[in-house]
Symmetry: D2
Subunit: 138 residues, 4 copies
């Protein structure tokens, strides 16, 4: 079984509607970008989050932390690095770094909990957990 991909980069161009009256990317919008990063990291590990939901497996956000070091502006082309910091059957922690060229704009961290259709914590199915950790059947 192949090793899981631990992190990935995604390029994101700031949309006009995402900038606020100061001309800066609005701070709430960064969390939409981070979610996009998580989706792509899953995809590179062979998992579509959309298919997870179709199986009744959801991730809900339990905790977010973000430090804003420098602003982004409309039409900037940014690079988001999303990395899995910790993965258990019940939760996943990600780390994010958003850059504009070499300049670090934002650092963030999130904790998500796996839940079922009822919204209650529920461990990931074994096959999915194995796929994400690379711990395949021997």
């Amino acid at each position: 079984m192949t090793s899981p991909v631990p992190s990935c980069d995604v390029e994101i161009r700031v949309r006009y509607a995402e900038a606020d009256a100061m001309g800066y990317l609005h701070h709430a919008q960064y969390f939409v970008y981070f979610e996009l990063g998580r989706t792509e990291l899953l995809r590179r590990n062979g998992v579509r989050y959309r298919d997870m939901e179709a199986r009744g497996v959801f991730y809900v956000v339990a905790k977010l932390e973000c430090r804003f070091r420098a602003p982004a502006r409309y039409d900037d082309l940014l690079t988001l690095t999303t990395a899995t910091a910790r993965l258990t059957p019940l939760l996943v922690e990600h780390e994010y770094r958003l850059r504009n060229g070499d300049r670090l704009l934002t650092e963030a961290r999130s904790t998500l909990v796996a839940v079922g259709r009822d919204g209650r914590p529920h461990p990931l199915p074994d096959d999915l957990y194995a796929q994400l950790t690379g711990a395949g059947p021997s």
Copy 2:
């Protein structure tokens, strides 16, 4: 049975995140306001859209038209008038006027279609249609 309420006014204050880099309320955001107006017009007719959805009755947007005459800005307190222009069991047309004091900012019109859980057109249940038209049982 009481007559249906044909229109209603809602006050909406423009949020910071809703303004764009020009400092104006972003044009896409107006449609979020209009939706809010529809929800409140339903509520004043005794219907919670959330309860409609719980029964498997949905409205989907089929057509939108909007003319923007003057901009709104962050922190402006606007008045949205939402009126039902036409209601049949299968569709509803609304008209919207958004004002800042006496100044007309935007005029719009929408057509929504009633659909079921499968996303296909489905007439409103009789009791709901009666409640919205005032055509109650004699």
Copy 3:
């Protein structure tokens, strides 16, 4: 002088935050996509909208019309075709077609007006108009 590019295609993947409680791309969000299409069409004609704004030349939306024929869902990869239907020094009309594979989801049309820093209509500077129409100096 080269002819202007009359239309362009952009691929857009629907983000999780852009879907509503029905699981469909929210209708207001389409207008954010159309704006993105306009920005890219300008860019392929050698113009960055951000640079236009830095010169004090802005486009504001005067009119929007949109017909929604079929829904888009989270994680769908859509193709947006943006075409210039009419361009004068004072206004520009665009047409949009949003597709999921071969399936047409949405058709729309917009009118934008060129304004100055004061928000009043102001014709495009000659060099910019020439660049967008291909009508270069003889």
Copy 4:
């Protein structure tokens, strides 16, 4: 001089467009609500943030932390409590509690930095700082 108002409650009804495909208020949207809470807390202390910006005094978000304990849904009527935890001429820390009736949904904390038009840290003007702290001229 009157004492500053240390905290305030604002009622916010969840909009349809703010819910995601799970039917829950999207996690990024909470930060838009918190910003709205800050604006209203300023207003109750006699300061319009819009007027601050007109004077060239801006607050930018430097740090955010949020714990999500229970979800909110479309049409829920929520109560947001925003409190000033610390205020200096250069920064302000706020604490937020978002509830649905008696149920605590979210706890958050933010740090904002006062900046000038150039985006660099700049202490609040004396009169504004005095108004927000109640430390008036003797």
